[in-house]
């Protein structure tokens, strides 16, 4: 295990673009996890009010809601981690080092393992950081305190970790299918943040679709399946009923995709000639 991870580390540690992307990602995570209060202060200075309530007292940093709030926002920047995976796999494909590694004496399974462990390591790092930031912000702003609140709903961190791993595995698969890194990055970015959300919204809301089976089918789309893992949490602040549990069904669909991605990666590497 350590051996496979070290292989990836040897490849990536002197790669400048990797450190630039990691830096951008960490900065984005920091802003997302800690910028909420700044945002509310700004709303206040703009004179916004929520039915007469001062926005800065909205308890976004209260335990345990903070876990769902920050992990939900953090899933938007997971694309940056996916870019790192794309570049890492694409380098091996375009520079033929994937083939050379195999020739030098690793199995294709070991190669897949090295990339997966790299993905897991990045996801774990990101989850740990979110936990740390959440803990610090909660300590400062939370209106409640105590282990029963702090460690409640921690499953959102676990699910966040799982979502990042699955999404990066999709990026791994795409990098084996398409040779042009720039194209995959653009396509994945647009698909994740625009194409699928727009199609989803149409199928769920358009009068001709919404009463049929279409809204149910949407839950099986690859990005929607991931987005369903952590639901939009902010409805609770305007007194709406929200999904504040991790849905088992969403978890099952996402796992289905994960298995499909892994199977496809394994199939591609074992069947294809490496030229």
């Amino acid at each position: 295990m350590i051996r496979a991870l070290k292989l990836e580390w040897l490849k990536i540690r002197n790669y400048r673009l990797f450190w630039i992307l990691i830096g951008m990602y960490l900065l984005a995570l920091l802003l997302i996890a800690s910028g909420g209060m700044l945002f509310l202060e700004w709303l206040k200075s703009e004179g916004a009010d929520f039915r007469g309530i001062n926005p800065t007292i909205i308890p976004i940093y209260d335990f345990p809601d903070i876990w769902q709030n920050t992990t939900y926002l953090a899933t938007y920047v997971k694309v940056l981690l996916a870019f790192i995976v794309i570049i890492s796999v694409n380098n091996d494909v375009t520079y033929n080092t994937l083939r050379q590694n195999i020739i030098d004496g690793i199995s294709k399974k070991e190669y897949i393992l090295s990339k997966l462990l790299f993905i897991v390591a990045m996801a774990a790092l990101s989850t740990l950081l979110l936990f740390g930031l959440g803990f610090v912000n909660g300590s400062i702003y939370s209106h409640v305190w105590g282990a029963e609140y702090i460690f409640d709903e921690m499953e959102f961190l676990a699910v966040y970790f799982y979502e990042v791993v699955i999404y990066c595995t999709l990026a791994f698969l795409l990098s084996l299918l398409i040779k042009k890194a720039g194209f995959i990055i653009m396509a994945l970015f647009l698909y994740t943040l625009m194409f699928e959300p727009i199609v989803d919204a149409i199928l769920i809301n358009a009068p001709i679709f919404r009463d049929g089976i279409a809204p149910e089918i949407v839950n099986f789309f690859p990005i929607k399946a991931l987005n369903n893992l952590i639901s939009v949490p902010y409805g609770r602040y305007i007194f709406m009923e929200i999904e504040d549990d991790v849905a088992i069904k969403a978890l099952a669909i996402a796992t289905g995709w994960f298995v499909f991605y892994l199977g496809s990666i394994s199939y591609l590497l074992n069947k294809r000639d490496l030229n």
Partner: protein, 298 residues
Amino acid sequence: MEKVLRINKLSKHFGRIRAVDKLDLDITTGQVFGILGPNGSGKTTTLGMILDVVAADSGSFRWFGQDDNVKARKKIGAILEMPCFMPYLTATQNLRITAHIKKCSTDNIGKVLKQAGLFDRRNDKFKTYSLGMKQRLSIAAALLSDPPVLIFDEPTNGLDPEGIAEVRKLIKDVAGSGKTIIMASHLLDEVQKVCTHFCVLRKGKKLHEGRVSETLGEINKVEVAADDRQKLEAVIGSFPGQVAAQQNGSTFLVTMKEDSSAADLNDFCFARGITLKKLFTQRNSLEQEFLKILREND
């Protein structure tokens, strides 16, 4: 002799083209084995299959008489076509990856870089290297774990004459150290200079297999000439190392016994007062043999 590699009816096709067609090959320890063939004859595909990067359609191969190919590949230093390294890493950093995969010590990195003449450039990024340097770095990588078997695929491809000479010398040095080498090449001269055994491939089929020395050593003729032609004829007639002599214009073509050389004949003539003004050993070149083999199989 110990079997290094046994290939059994290995086949691969790309669409309707048969790249390799039921190829059988045995390679034993210590051989420097040349796979000779025109471009597109299936050399690289064959090497790709025995290195597990090209999936064979049918047939099998066995390394070192055992079944674990991943383990076997750690004992093989191989280069397939172009040198493949991370362009943004230095030579040393790239070789650390190779050492990690081969599970060998990184202590050898300095040594193999010196051997390949790259030690002074070891901390420069791979992308700044010339083609010759890249090629030499891949040879260094192949040598890194001091493997008993080396595979080179067109090792002098794309190099200038100086680079070709350097790479050939490197391969000869390695061959001299008793390692088994499998080398694919379309350059006959290269195989003739470096290899002990060779086979000829065309359209994925093996046309011929044998020792380089046997194929080349069948005929050993020396062409001689001197000012005094009649005296020369008499002296040649009394030379014990000759089988036959034939006058050919102003020169004589002497067919020699296997154990006698042109130097013996020269000594013999000089001792009898004849100074040769021409002394030329004729050997068959692999090129002639190669063309003959191709012609025979047309």
